[in-house]
Amino acid sequence: MQLEYTLQIADNALILGHRLSEWCGHGPILEQDIAITNIALDLIGQARSLYQYAAEVEGKGRTEDDLAYLRIGTQFRNTLLVEQPKGNFGTTIVRQFLFDAFHFAFYQELCNSKDETLAAVAKKSLKEVTYHLRFSSEWVIRLGDGTAESHEKMQTALNDLWAYTGELFKASDADQWALENGIGVDLEVVKKFWEEKVSEILKMATLEQPADGWMQTGGKQGRHTEHLGYILAEMQYLQRAYPGQEW
């Protein structure tokens, strides 16, 4: 279960980092191209620390790369939100903000984990995620309250992605186990922060908060959207085509 829990956190970071890296060289403004890449680098860095730890916990000699490159889709434990396509810049910003608000509160709680490694990763990552949340909040406000066109694009992105937010707070068996053992976090506490933050920022952005309808779930159990298959096909290509080599 500890492996499962660590992978859940790591996979979110890797898949979102990978998604963000798709902007590198294609951003709307040079400075934002650099900023988005910074966030991607932070997230992939977090994923690496967590995979290294997961490999150690498992104790079967696997490496960070084995975990990232040699698992199949159903073995990935990331939430569905982070695998959603980059869309336009507004989609990416909304996806980022909805996740950052969760990620920030999640790491804040995880700092108190009885698991010293996870607590240490959380402390280090919290510094990074504090910046991510500031960046994405500012852009949600700027684009929400910018022009009529930007407002509409942001509202559409928000409406489309909202159905993937419920899963962030729905405890999996691993979440439940981790909470009971003092390793994980109480997702209800995280949810409270998230709701307040999201509602505060959306208000400032003049965006309408969608109603909580049906929420899509399954990522934490390995039941993903069709998008993950393509992410992995691309990401794992060299490792699959030339098995067992050093790069």
């Binding site: 060289g25 294609h26 951003g27 690496r48 309250d145 060299l238 030339y242 080599q245 790069w247």
Partner: protein
């Protein structure tokens, strides 16, 4: 009024005395134009150069390589930013420079019109393309225009790191499987000659060189830099155990340099004119990013204006 001739003499005297020219100093129009052309070409090359390498970010073969490549391509965005800023000190803004790039009026280094078809290309770009760029850039750290020289100092530090990173990718391949070694040799076969072309036409053919040397924008000729690159690279190729695709490559005891075969200038000019394998794709990618980003830039401006208005109103009430 001070006669132009005496201003020009004063300017040239400053250049000759190795005094850096700064944005507010008087400078000949042609000097300003040459610098705008050169610095913007250089900035555009950084930005377009993000594309061939960016092509492998999503497929980098390990997490360490993914982070390394992502950071490298990001550095290039940063270099573009320094250089656009240096260019702006000459009285032209970034939007206009982008316009020149996107309409094909401004050029960028032709090397980026070649495709990156395998992972080894990422190593080869670092080793050969960045290696060639460094020869030029080290020289430019002492260029006569202050803001350009200072931007180059920062860029050079990062570029030499990139070159080592590229070499290390290739070194790993060279110690790998037969398939990996074949991938390495194939990449070197494809990147060697275009890298030599990066230094530009031979001194005899180069149109801008003489004046640029007099103004100390350039301090070494295209052929001198090319030779310097060949001499350094041949030795490194031995460590990688690859064959450079030039049967005429041979040490010349008398000259103290490596001799190398003739460069196919027809290919060079063909790619410059737009017929390289990726000219259309590279420009299209830049235009797409720019056009699709327009609503973001507009919104940022609109929001800033709203904020300023709100602050002004709040102040009035207070």
């Amino acid at each position: 009024m001070v006669p132009i001739k005496s201003l020009e003499e004063k300017f040239q005297a400053a250049v000759d005395a190795e005094i850096k020219i700064e944005p507010k100093d008087w400078m000949p129009d042609a000097y300003r134009k040459t610098l705008i052309r050169q610095i913007s070409q250089h900035a555009h090359s950084e930005i377009v150069g993000m594309l061939p390498e960016g092509n492998w970010i999503s497929r980098a073969p390990s997490l360490r390589r993914k982070v390394g490549l992502l950071a490298k391509v990001q550095d290039e965005a940063g270099h573009g930013l320094y250089l656009y800023s240096a260019c702006e000190t000459l009285g032209i803004d970034r939007e206009e420079l982008f316009e020149q790039l996107n309409t094909g009026k401004a050029k960028y280094s032709s090397i980026f019109n070649y495709p990156t078809t395998t992972w080894a290309d990422i190593g080869a770009i670092g080793w050969l393309v960045d290696g060639a760029a460094i020869m030029n850039q080290v020289m430019l750290c002492r260029t006569s225009y202050g803001p350009y020289a200072r931007a180059m100092v920062r860029i050079c530090k990062e570029e030499s790191f990139h070159q080592r990173q590229g070499f290390e990718i290739l070194l790993t391949l060279s110690k790998g499987s037969e398939e990996q070694r074949a991938m390495l040799q194939d990449a070197v076969d494809r990147w060697w000659w275009p890298s030599l072309m990066m230094f530009g036409p031979s001194d005899k053919e180069s149109t801008h060189s003489a004046q640029s040397m007099k103004w100390k924008i350039k301090r070494k000729s295209n052929d001198e830099l090319r030779q310097q690159f060949v001499d350094a690279t041949v030795e490194q190729a031995k460590i990688l155990n690859v064959t450079l695709p030039d049967p005429e490559l041979k040490w010349n005891e008398e000259r103290g340099h490596y001799d190398f075969g003739p460069i196919d200038w027809e290919e060079f000019w063909n790619v410059v004119k737009g017929n390289g394998p990726c000219n259309k794709e590279r420009l299209a990618a830049r235009v797409k990013a720019h056009d699709e980003g327009a609503w973001v830039r507009d919104a940022a401006v609109a929001f800033a204006e709203k904020q300023a208005k709100r602050r002004a109103e709040a102040n009035k009430v207070a």
